[in-house]
Amino acid sequence: MATKTIRVDYLTRVEGEGALELDISGDAVSGVRLAIFEPPRFFEALLRGRAGTEAPDITARICGICPVAYQMSAVHAIEAAWDIRLDAPLRALRRLLYCGEWIESHALHVVMLHAPDFLGFPDAISMAAVHGEAVRQGLALKKAGNALLRLLGGREVHPVNVRVGGFYRVPTRDELAPLASTMEEARATAIALARWVAAFPFPDFGRDYEFVALRHPTEYPMNEGRLVSSRGLDIAVAEYEDAFAEHHVAHSTALQSGLRARGSYLVGPLARFNLNHDRLSPSVQALADELGLAPGCTNPYRSIVVRALELVQACEEAEGLIAAYAPPPAPAMAVTPRAGTPQASTGAACTEAPRGILYHRYDLDAEGSILQARIVPPTSQNQSTIEDDLRLIATRDLALPEHELRDHCEQAIRNYDPCISCSTHFLRLTVRRQ
């Protein structure tokens, strides 16, 4: 049989470096491997021996796009280990900071990374010449998110203001107040953007995913909740490792995660929306209705619409949190490992990074030093689901010219806004035909 190889040196518009390999035998796809060759960075190992209080700042360095997610999962895991419960005002500020990151990250992905796929442009720069207004809107939203991060996190990239027990410094009302109008404008911009992306042509694709997300009694999930799935999973975050397992695959430096009972699953905006539609604000639910998006959506291409809706949600929530802000009595609660009880402890937390659930677990000794750390980023969790999508798409499109097959595969990967740097930069696609 003839063997054919297609090679794409860099898959663009994803965060991180990796490759995609497709094996094609005759008219069938015999192998799909999302191969992440970015070197592992051993964060879990270098955390050992460090103080638990250092985990939020060390793990924030895993990602320049979603450092707040790392800080939030780390800080909540350590606080769980040491039985620290935050007062409502501190909790609200953490949510406001996370809104900032969702706004930054979603604006970047929706406009700069993903939209060009639907409109037939190779990148946002060439798209800007035709769709300048949308690009300006995306940049304006990103700037609004940056403003929240700068004030609450101390700086826009790799914020430094989160600590176990709260923050190092909290803003005054006067410092926060000007951001109310920024968020009001941002919300209007996000609504316009949501209407723009909802009118894109979406490929007819869908399958029966198991969606996994956090679920909170009253809030759209961000910092806390139970872990639920579209197939009945309903567990406390502390039970995560009972239900999910990571395993090595030969072709990737990143571990792949699966449900012990059922294998691959999907995390991220589409999972959150499907499992938490009723937790969106009434106005965002109404906007989803207007845009024809209902819970139960199984088309991953429509995740761009969900991201845009989540942008609206985050801007609206930020407006509300700013309006209701009263500075907490102190920037942080008192922190003593296990309230002074000298004993070892374990704490786990899951928060909703823009790309999906991010799990952290820390085992700590009596002095509060980290004995062991476990970090499971969203892209590790979506990896095998992405491979499953690619198998179907490559099989469907096998007869297409190779550049089209390649484009379709790359677009399918970008549905997940993969952050390959988090998982362990550009992706290389190799197709072997025999």
């Binding site: 965060e15 946002a124 010449a129």
Partner: protein, 156 residues
């Protein structure tokens, strides 16, 4: 009344020669340049579009990838066309200076005049100081920028 000019140094202060842009603009800020606002950028390149849209005259200082002549200073005029790819003015996070310039061009957000001084790095080591040849280039770069801005102001 002089027209507003903006001098921006780009770089990560903790990555060896990547910090050279910061060293150059800090030295110029210390000596004081009338009519020139000095700024530093170390993170999100996309934020540059807003910063420079308000200025009539922009001068940027950044490091380029090592290519065998550390400390070599390139003077680039992005108004005349895309920045040369081989200098590596990109970013591992997708949007580097070259992309920010092209995006600004597409959106009509380039200032009336822009000059980029790009200094070739020897290394980007974590936590390291500037390499000797790059540190030695700082004085020459500041002199070139002073001359550039004097010309810009004289034109105004």
């Amino acid at each position: 009344m002089t027209r507003p000019a903006l001098l921006i140094g780009l770089g990560n202060p903790d990555r060896g020669d990547d910090a050279v842009g910061l060293h150059v603009v800090r030295r110029l800020a210390a000596r004081g340049l009338p009519g020139v606002t000095v700024a530093e950028a170390d993170g999100d390149t996309l934020t540059l579009l807003d910063r420079w849209a308000a200025a009539a005259r922009v001068v940027l200082v950044d490091a380029t990838e090592p290519a065998g002549q550390p400390g070599r200073i390139h003077r680039l005029d992005p108004m005349s066309g895309p920045l040369p790819r081989e200098l590596g003015l990109g970013s591992t996070h997708g949007f580097g200076l070259a992309e920010a310039v092209e995006l600004a061009r597409a959106l009509g957000r380039l200032p009336a005049r822009m000059t980029i001084f790009a200094i070739e790095a020897a290394h980007f080591e974590h936590g390291a100081a500037l390499s000797a040849p790059v540190a030695a280039s700082v004085t020459a770069a500041t002199a070139l920028i002073v001359a550039e801005l004097a010309e810009g102001l004289a034109d105004a």
